[in-house]
């Protein structure tokens, strides 16, 4: 196949898996602990921030995206992008409804 060299297969070592696994557990602990601290509106930010980091770890390492082709990365990105379009453009309508009433 000339124009698309097959992506060579990168095998992630178990050591890395263990590291990721442990950091996921730690982050879980952290997010739970954080939820017990009163941070007002930052509670949401922190919780979602940690969730995003965790998701990134899973996507990059468990799902091997870090070692995958550009195509896979693009695919992941386009999924996220459309997801964001759905959520934010819909929310934009709901939020701006209050700006003026007709």
């Amino acid at each position: 196949m000339s124009n698309h060299a097959e992506t060579e297969h990168h095998i992630v070592s178990p050591k890395l898996y263990v590291v990721i696994f442990l950091s996921l557990l730690c982050l879980t602990g952290l997010t739970v602990a954080a939820s017990y601290v009163e941070m007002y509106s930052f509670n949401v930010v922190v919780a979602l921030g940690i969730a995003i980091v965790k998701a990134m770890l899973v996507v990059l390492f468990f799902m091997h995206v870090k070692y995958s082709s550009k195509l896979t990365k693009l695919t992941v990105f386009s999924g996220l992008f459309t997801f964001m379009v759905l959520i934010f453009m819909t929310l934009a309508d709901y939020i701006s409804r209050a700006w003026g009433r007709w």
């Binding site: 196949m1 557990l25 879980t28 939820s35 979602l48």
Partner: protein, 252 residues
């Protein structure tokens, strides 16, 4: 009748002679096949993201609208069970990742072990989930089915939750909207659980296949792709957990 004359013919592509039995006829090489199925799996996960996207949108909108109801609804969830379940799911994700590694390294019995562990952890997750569901049922917090507003109109009646949060009683109209919270809770965790159940079904099949050595002779794509699916389900939960359980702990 010259056929295909207008096209320069490619000479035999290497690897054409001895196909592995699991290579489908229309692929030129195993690598191409693996790439294709892997990519297909990713595209399938895209559809899954968008599928959950609708639910996330609904959740965000209604949380914004009926903030107090969503906060108190959230207080009815047990952070303990939620955290435990998160840990269980992450562990299962880890064992799955290890399973993929074992398959890649052709370690048959280790692979089977990993798959079985994943399978068991999946079941544990569902078990805990059903404990939680059962509790909701007991408290009449299942929307549409004898839904009851007591815990919100009169939070003190529910000592355990009350002691932790000191929730004020919600006005009736706001209390009614907790049903929306619980609906979204059930819809989102239910969809998630459904994906787990499907995953466990496939795992069963895979364990049998792995036992037969189907994946340790070189054909690991199936395991890898299933791994993607399993991790994806994990990621959904990683977001559901803070959204449903955690972020409303302090909001009052």
């Amino acid at each position: 009748m010259p056929e295909n004359t207008a096209i320069a013919g490619a000479t035999e592509v290497e690897g054409h002679h001895e196909h592995p039995p699991y290579q489908r006829h229309h692929f030129e090489t195993m690598g191409q096949q693996n790439d294709a199925t892997n990519f297909a799996m990713w595209l399938f996960l895209l559809t899954e993201i968008m599928f959950f996207g609708g639910l996330f949108t609904a959740y965000l909108i209604y949380r914004n609208w009926y903030y107090p109801a969503f906060v108190q609804g959230s207080h009815q969830l047990s952070i303990f069970w939620g955290t435990l379940n998160t840990a269980v799911l992450i562990t299962s994700s880890f064992t799955m990742a290890m399973g993929v590694w074992c398959a890649e390294m052709r370690k048959k019995s280790a692979l089977v072990l990993c798959l079985v562990l994943t399978f068991v952890l999946g079941l544990v997750f569902l078990g805990i989930k059903s404990i939680e569901y059962h509790e909701k049922w007991e408290k009449h917090h299942v929307p549409g089915l004898r839904y009851n507003l007591d815990s919100f109109l009169n939070p003190a009646s529910d000592h355990e939750v009350y002691q932790e949060y000191h929730d004020k009683p919600l006005p009736l109209d706001m209390a009614r909207h907790t049903e929306l919270y619980f609906f979204l809770y059930f819809a989102m965790t239910g969809m998630h659980a459904l994906h787990m159940i499907i995953g466990i079904g496939i795992l069963t099949f895979m364990i049998i296949q792995a036992q037969r050595g189907a994946y340790t002779t070189g054909h690991v794509t199936f395991v890898e792709n299933f791994g993607l699916y399993w991790h994806f389900v994990d990621i959904i939960w990683i977001f559901l957990f803070p959204l449903l359980y955690l972020i409303s702990r302090h909001a009052n």
